[in-house]
Amino acid sequence: MPDKTLDSIRLGLIWQRLNGIVDQVSETFIRAAFSTVVRENYDMAFSLLDVRGRQFAQSKRSIPSFIGTLPRTLAAVLKKFPLKTFKPGDVIITNDAWIGTGHLNDISMICPIFVNGRLIAFAGSTAHTVDIGGAPSPTAQDCFEEGLCIPICKIVEQGAEIPLVIDFLTENLRAPDETLGDIRAQFAAYHDCQQKLAHVLEDECLNDLEDVIEEIISRSSKSMRDVIASLPDGRYCDEFQVDGFDVPLTIKCAVTIKGDTIDVDFAGSSAQIDRPINCVLNYTYAYSCFALKCLLDPEVPNNSGAFETVTVRAPEGSLFNAARPAPVWGRHLTGHYAPPAIFGALSQILPGKVIAESGSPLWNVYFKGHQEKDGAPFIKMFFMNGGHGAQSANDGPGCLSFPSNVSNQPVELFENQAPLLITEKCFVPDTAGAGKFRGGDAQRISFRSNASTPITMTIRHERITYPPRGLLGGGNGAPGKDLINGETIPAKSRQVLEPGDLATFQMPGGGGLHDARERPKGAVSRDIKRGLLSPEQAHLSYGYDHE
């Protein structure tokens, strides 16, 4: 019989195995998924949570907001379905924006994992679905316009799908095969997860994972609290303007450190508006925790323990804590500002750790129309990332997702699925924020309609008026641009692409870090040689003149 004491070595082995399992299981999900959004963009997350609702492991391919909201979703599920009511083979579903990730397009599910008749953990997963019915648009005025809300309910009971729930989904969605295909791929992943966890328990002669989870969570908790305690107590603030909808909006953030606690307060930010850029507190919480974890204690395993002394607040009815029935479809247009606001505030005490602002909130575009071959309707989404902010000791990478972690999809795959031709996907010169460490270069992507019928195109983009900020003396990145046939279009709008029309998107460049005059001449001349810095801009930003 193996030794049952949980020393560091055995804990490490079991812990690595749990991480391995959650990554393997998320691959099961990705490979079995039907949608491009999951298979190529990885707009999903898979986590393991304990019977108390605490997250203890998550897949590497995860969207940071989802791993942050899943514990809160489980907490809401447990209020409706007490622990003792779960049976093996149950799966709970919801996409309620205030319980899940902040908009209806993310469907979250929770599956109790039983081994030898004992509930040992929950598998939780979230996946983005391109369509959730309704008429989500940049002008939606409440969440009811934005599609079908699935209340917390069982979609599978003891291994049998509930036909009523499946029927509701089938009747309300535009692409039910794709969405249900993704949902069932997650059922397969839960099954896989159950078997693998049972295997671990059998190998390790354990009845449950409680001691292991307790140890992992308490270590992450202690580590985070130690880091916070090492920071000087105080209240650190940041405030800036963002594009908003009709008028600019204010983002205000105060981070208060006291002993081993951190309070993040978004009071003073604009009130919620009747346009779909409002953010629910779940999402605000998730991205605040993510930002703090990245900045303060990135090496230690991420789990609920790390946030035991973290509080996140925003007045109800404000941008960061929207109240029902606010429209929230584009909640990332606010939520993705939480990390830069926190970094801006803490740059005063952690100047060697923060990164400058990235070309986010995440950009994407929806195309809706009809296929040329058979006239079948299609709805496709394309994700695009701007330049990453300058890093603490390096230039920002060009076009890397932050704070989200959504991958692009291959041009070749997209062209196979929609009657559009992508004519360019390239870096744009003179878009990186100047600095000792410059920001990441922005990219430009152009789509030409090859359809013989009009295509509806929907965009909701930020950073057109207010570009990504440089930090600690670094310059701003270039703002983004949206064009049709070379003419500027509103960044939050629904447009019609006539046959042959060309839509062009230029994402924002990343902000720079520290004074541009500290940048080594060699680095400037290299940027010129690479064709991403014009000699004129080199002169303006860096005072560099080629001899």
Partner: protein
């Protein structure tokens, strides 16, 4: 697959420190081995020396060697250490940054200082050509081959020795890539050219570009290395094929390997994993799922809380081999198709390896037999199992 039950095979692995050479006598299933210091300046030198040594030590003539099988980490090391040749890229107009933009995904979620690998081809050496093929393989814009003259000039000026060509949808219609290869063969005959439609004809422009460029980057050095090895073996008198292990564990002949060295990027580790699976199948321990001390007794199935359904063990009713034996003696069974299938199954999925049971006819005392186990004090009485392993051939 060879049915030869005689002759010799040589296995060679070149590591960062040591070069190992193994000689396998197929007839008696014995292996001999030798170990030399790797000669990094010219890796084939240690291989030749090792082969010469092991043949002479064992009095084996070079012509008796049926095959030399080689797993190598050379390709992986050249990529990791960035010791390939200066490489360029030719791609569809509008897409030269695909190689650097990648998939826009952070592999390390919480690391603000995440570092992405530097592309093998830097921006000034990535060239665009006017052409376009659509997702059905239709040519939308014919290729402007004359642009290659300017591109060749830039490549030559930059000292580029090898170029990868990756055009959009070339996995569907390779004609534009082929036209580039043919044109460059005439105008730049010394340039090594790798086409994405040959190296990795799959959808996904970033992955295909990256793989094609990596192939181009190591192609010239790997070809030189394999040519030296083949010449050296030939000079020793080993005229048979050199087989190289691919990343998936299969083997290819030298000509394919030198054309697509990127397929050998995991060659050494794959060969190691294959060997480990064979050792696992042949080992005394490791039977079945999750072995632990004190398992597989006559009473307990796994842990001491789990019993066999039938005392003495649960076993499959299927019989893999059936033989009649006579009086007390040492018996040798020939293999059967079922036994080969059993062993293959254990290698494919080690958790199914519960071994064989030798079951006598115990209905009467007259037919009862007793066999020694591996613990027998008389070594000669211990059972032995000989497995002849064939490398899977390339598809």
């Amino acid at each position: 697959m060879s049915d030869a039950m005689s002759g010799y095979r040589i296995g060679v692995d070149i590591g960062g420190t040591f070069t190992d050479v193994v000689l396998w006598n197929i007839a008696n299933a014995r292996t001999e081995k030798t170990k030399l210091l790797t000669t990094p300046d010219e890796p084939s030198r240690a291989v030749m020396e090792g082969v010469r040594q092991i043949l002479s030590d064992n009095n084996v003539a070079p012509r008796e060697v049926d095959a030399v099988i080689h797993g190598t980490t050379l390709v992986a090391n050249a990529l990791i250490e960035r010791k390939g040749v200066k490489t360029g890229l030719i791609t569809t107009r509008g897409f030269k940054d695909v190689l650097e933009i990648g998939r826009e995904w952070r592999y390390d979620l919480f690391n603000l200082d995440i570092e992405l690998p530097t592309p093998i081809v830097d921006r000034p050496d990535r060239h665009e050509i006017t052409e376009r093929v659509d997702s059905d393989g239709n040519i939308l814009t014919p290729i402007e081959l004359s642009e290659l003259d300017q591109i060749s000039e830039s490549l030559a000026a930059a000292g580029i020795e090898s170029v990868g060509v990756c055009l959009l949808h070339a996995y569907r219609n390779a004609s534009h890539e082929s036209a580039i290869r043919d044109y460059l063969a005439k105008t730049a005959p010394t340039l090594s050219v790798s086409l994405s439609s040959d190296v990795s004809p799959e959808m996904g422009e970033y992955e295909r570009s990256s793989t094609t460029v990596a192939n181009a980057y190591i192609h010239p050095i790997f070809k030189t290395y394999v040519d030296l090895l083949v010449d050296g073996l030939s000079a020793l008198g080993c005229e048979k094929d050199l087989l190289l292990v691919l990343s998936d564990g299969r083997t290819v002949r030298q000509d394919t390997a030198t054309q697509f060295p990127i397929r050998l990027v995991q060659s050494g580790p794959a060969a190691g994993a294959q060997a480990a699976s064979i050792y696992g199948a042949m080992s005394n321990e490791g039977n079945g799922t999750a072995p632990a001390a004190e398992d597989a007794t006559w009473v307990h199935r796994m842990f001491n809380s789990v019993l066999w359904q039938t005392p003495g063990g649960d076993f499959s009713p299927l019989i893999s081999a059936l033989v009649s034996v006579g009086d007390s003696s040492r018996y040798t069974w020939d293999s059967t198709g079922e036994m080969v299938a059993d062993v293959q199954g254990w290698i494919d999925d080690p958790s199914t390896n519960f071994g064989w049971l030798i079951l006598g006819n115990e209905t009467t005392s007259r037919t009862t037999k007793r066999f020694d186990s591996k613990e027998s004090p008389t070594a000669g009485n211990r059972p032995t199992l000989t497995i002849i392993y064939e490398f899977p051939a390339e598809n």
